[in-house]
Amino acid sequence: MPSSEGRTAPAVLAGDFRGALRLQLTVIGALMMRELHTRYGRENLGFLWMVVEPLLFCAGVIIIWSVAQGRYTHGSHLNVLGFVMTGYLPLTLWRHTTNRAVHCFRANASLLYHRQVRMLDLLTARMILELYGTAIAYLVMAFVFWAAGVYEWPKDWGLFYLGWLYFAAFSVAMGLIIGALTEMVEWVEKLVGPLMYFLLPVCGCFFMVDWLPGSVQELVLWMPTVSAYELIRGGQFGPELRIHTNLPLATAVCLALLATGLLLCRNVHRHLVIE
């Protein structure tokens, strides 16, 4: 074939499974770079905002809680800073993944003109970015407070990671469901705010299960984030803290939500008009 100067042949699209996987990873990577550019631009702090925003949020909360020390931690001798950090950072992740998922497909519909960009890639890219952002925010905050002598690193990293894993799974599942539903039904978007608000008190951010009466304990464990919070805090504070989890239930709920989200996303293209 005649090929004029300066033109580059396109890489063969898809092919075998490994080729297809590599292509999908390339696409998700490109979407993440693009997302960073659109969201934070190239001016002022740029993508540092991804870390600064949760940092400011936590700093504010820590100040307020420190003033009210003891009153909210039920007299247990938990380090307020550790309690707030293990509470608010997962919360930030959850809030961000959910908010980022709202109308995610619509906002990126023009990119679907490139057939290697799949619906799910759009959400995946955003979710991975939020996971990264939260992890970096944690590391930066933890390092600064540790260096200042007011924070101790988690006593049991295994539990700490496991808790985050559950939390991430729940957040991503909710992102998938919200992302798909907001494209399918217009009024769902309006419910996201109230839903998040009403889930807040039961999500486990503000209490330890041990502080609750026995009958309520079993009930709140239906919310997978409660088990996740118990694990994260168990990892942070070590065996001195009594934790209660129901991992089979948390696993089942997370998997059910993930499956629902993926199924909804499979069908979302029928509801999306590509310009």
């Binding site: 005649p2 033109r7 580059t8 042949a9 396109p10 890489a11 519909a109 003109y113 293209h269």
Partner: protein, 215 residues
Amino acid sequence: MIRVENLHKVYRSHGGEHVVLRDTSFTVPRGFRLGILGRNGAGKSTLIRLIGKVEQPTRGRVSHEMSVSWPLGFSGSFQGSLTGIDNMRFIARIYRTDFEQLRAFVEEFAELGSFLYQPVKTYSSGMRARLAFALSIAIDFDCYLIDEVMMVGDERFHQRSRGHLFAPDSGRALVVASHDASFIEQVCDGALVISRGRTRYFDDVAEAIKTYKAL
């Protein structure tokens, strides 16, 4: 070769069903230039997007046995809030081509000057189409899907894109949707006429145009 087999597309809207395409089959061999004629709203763009695998058919399938461009048109394919250059970076990444080479070609070809550093949403539709054209020509596909963008740009741009895409010796296959019959007649080797969801293929483009004009 592009194979289109029993393609059927139905849009559901407010309690009703609208059949855009009824059971259409055809192939586009390498180097073949296929025109698609039809009135506004006849389903030309939908067909182009289905051929490009950007939209899912209700039934039937499309298979590509050569590299096929994304549907080039006035809308889609760019992120409005990003600059031309950043969009170019994105496209270089997902098509796995070399960014610097792409940029050199596009700067020269699209003649957008400093606009390349402005967000794409500030572009006129003509400028957008020029960027899309330049990018897709730089990537060098075997087949180009073109949706009503013949008239963009000035005479110079026309001549150059004609040289690259529409010249008989370019060796590239084309699928061009247009309601500009004379353009289809000049460029295409065969044409489909779409009307009320049905497509009819003509080897003789002049005859296709006669049918189209009688609609």
